[in-house]
């Protein structure tokens, strides 16, 4: 027994879970082409959720602040990107790939810039006065979420907004018998790139060192003379920007968005950070991919169960590991 568990730990421990889920699903589904389609869909969904959830998890890890208003950035990102894409619809319609991607980049950039700005405002005005008071934090960020949702309703109205996709991301490619949507591959690649960038930032730079040190022992870092509150604004803005980026990607994925988007994603984002363990990027990625895969497999195998599947996944994992799969060291 110990040999096996040693082997599992050395090979990656809990990070093997998605692989295990995928293998089990392969035998349950039985059709390789469907399995491949579902797996890629799950990975793409997981990566987009990772973008949305990573900021929440980092902010919690660094400052012990849980932002219930986080999903507001997701919805704002989605709507800002949708507006920019609609505005540039001429570029999108043209056959030129350069104009296409320029429009896409502009849309995502607009969402991220908006997220950064909104994050700064949110941190200064909403969150800063209630550091170290969890109860009021939950209440205030919840209030901010209500206000943000109402603002979206006032600006964009309650009707669903359709999101045009760049021409070159439409359609799908055929691998063997399986057809894979190009947008999903794009979402996966972007998510993976962001993960790698975050990983490098956290593990290879001086700022990352300070952030990780702050997660582990905030007072000590402050005592050594570093202004951790400035660092925190930076992390908060980064997290908000990433959430807006995730929202923008999600808008392109869904192609039809409603103001309820934020509230829907919030639940999934919460489940992801709970599963992954608050405060760590690896844990969030793991949780996001687990949720993405699980949702797609269950949606295929037992559509009736799809709704409750994330909840069941969370309950099982919490029973097994009460603080999540890979929490930051606290």
């Amino acid at each position: 027994m110990t040999n096996i568990s040693d082997l599992v730990t050395r090979a990656g421990g809990v990070f093997l879970l998605p692989v295990a889920v995928a293998i089990v699903a392969f035998f349950l589904i039985g059709v390789p082409s469907s399995w491949l389609t579902l797996t890629i869909a799950g990975l793409a969904m997981g990566m987009m959720i990772f973008l949305m959830a990573s900021g929440l998890s980092l902010v919690f890890g660094l400052m012990d602040v849980l932002n219930f208003g986080h999903s507001a950035f997701v919805s704002f990102g989605a709507f800002v990107a949708a507006s920019v894409l609609a505005w540039l619809s001429g570029w999108l319609g043209s056959p030129s790939v350069i104009l296409n991607s320029l429009a896409l980049i502009l849309a995502i950039a607009a969402a991220v810039v908006f997220g950064l700005g909104a994050g700064w405002f949110f941190e200064r005005v909403i969150v800063k006065p209630v550091y170290h008071d969890h109860l009021r934090q939950i209440l205030i960020t919840m209030g901010a979420l209500i206000v943000a949702e109402q603002m979206i309703l006032a600006i964009w109205g309650g009707a669903p907004v359709s999101v045009p996709r760049p021409h070159f991301l439409e359609g799908s490619i055929i691998i063997g018998d399986a057809s894979v949507e190009i947008y999903r591959i794009f979402a996966f690649c972007l998510g993976a790139a962001v993960y790698v960038a975050l990983h490098v930032l956290l593990n290879r730079t001086r700022i990352g060192l300070l952030i990780r040190a702050g997660v582990e022992n905030r007072e000590m870092v402050e005592a050594l003379g570093f202004r951790i509150d400035r660092l925190f604004i930076g992390v908060f803005m980064l997290g908000s920007g990433l959430a807006a980026m995730g929202g923008a990607m999600w808008a392109g994925y869904e192609t039809l968005i409603t103001p309820a988007l934020g509230a829907e994603m919030m639940i999934i984002v919460f489940i992801v950070v709970i599963i992954g363990g608050l405060g760590s990027i690896q844990g969030t990625l793991l949780g996001a991919i687990m949720v993405g895969l699980f949702a797609n497999y269950v949606g295929f195998l037992a559509p009736k169960m799809a709704l409750a599947s994330n909840m069941i996944l969370m309950m099982v994992i919490l029973l097994w590991r009460p603080s999540g799969l890979a929490p930051a060291v606290k």
């Binding site: 109860l135 919840m142 006032a154 709704l307």
Partner: protein
Amino acid sequence: MNTAVTHPANKGDLIVKAIVLVIAAALLFAPFLFQDVRSVEVAARICIFVVLVASYDLLIGYTGIVSFAHTMFFGFGAYGVAILLKQMGPGWGPVVLGTLAGVTVSIIVATLIGLLSLRVKAIFFAMITLAAASVVLVLASQLSGFTGGEDGITYRVPDLFKPATKLMVDEDGKVLRILGVKMNGKLAAYYFVFLTCFILFLFLLRVVASPLGTVLEAIRENEGRAEGIGYRVVAYRTFVFCLAATMASIAGSVYAVWLKYTGPDTALSFAIMIDILLMVVIGGMGTMWGAVIGATLMVLAQYYLRDLMAVASEATSAIPLLPDLLAPDRWLFWLGIIFILLVYFFPAGLAGTIMKKESH
């Protein structure tokens, strides 16, 4: 966030209690004081929400647990009665059975959630309850064969509560009027709501004044110390979560009988949860009296503020964006801002602030 640990002859305390007494008297005589249908509707809603908010305050104000699943329990109670009344036809049996079923489901779910997540961080608990509540909401709209889906369920209530029922008749055999109010089933239904809610509220008052209430406050103030003295924090928390869930469930059952309709919007939606949160914060966390004040103010605002906003929106129609923000549908926007300001500047809420200010 100190509760009002007050002396009996405290002036602020008396003011708050006097306000509550006035509200209670107004509710007691509501059908006689305000004789249009809408006002009685408002009064019944206030009664229900006083219980709902008071039981939520038991969690958030007295024990320091933040739960977003309170409407879920409210919904269990409402749907329990609604489904049984629909299936078994009108009568007292389905009402009692439905209430019991709602309470049972609530206690089971509350115990599961409590034992699973009350031992971890408070913040996890908030997130888990939010997730659970949203799953139940989605389930309720998906299992349409059972719950009526988005449309909800309409049903008939026991004969006593039918508007056509005559409680008292005059010599001609017509419905007797006292002070202009018809003694019919609608009146009986209102007093059924009022009395049930009154009893539940008194029970909650008794709970917070009991030794149990003191232990809960101890847990809120310093969890580690409470554990150290020898109180089993997880057991107490789970118990109080179940108790609050039971109260919410019964309130839901009563509301279902009053409305004769149960659907996601009236019993389960997240908007109700936000209402409850606003009421608790406006009234004041950690005082049962605050629940009465908060619920009354919010329900009145819900019914009458929108009319005002419609007027304001008309008046500002020349200015861009402002009429959009002033539209009656956007009233949550303003309440959200008021909510944030209240949490910043008056964390003790109206009742708490009055009690504190006048005590010096």
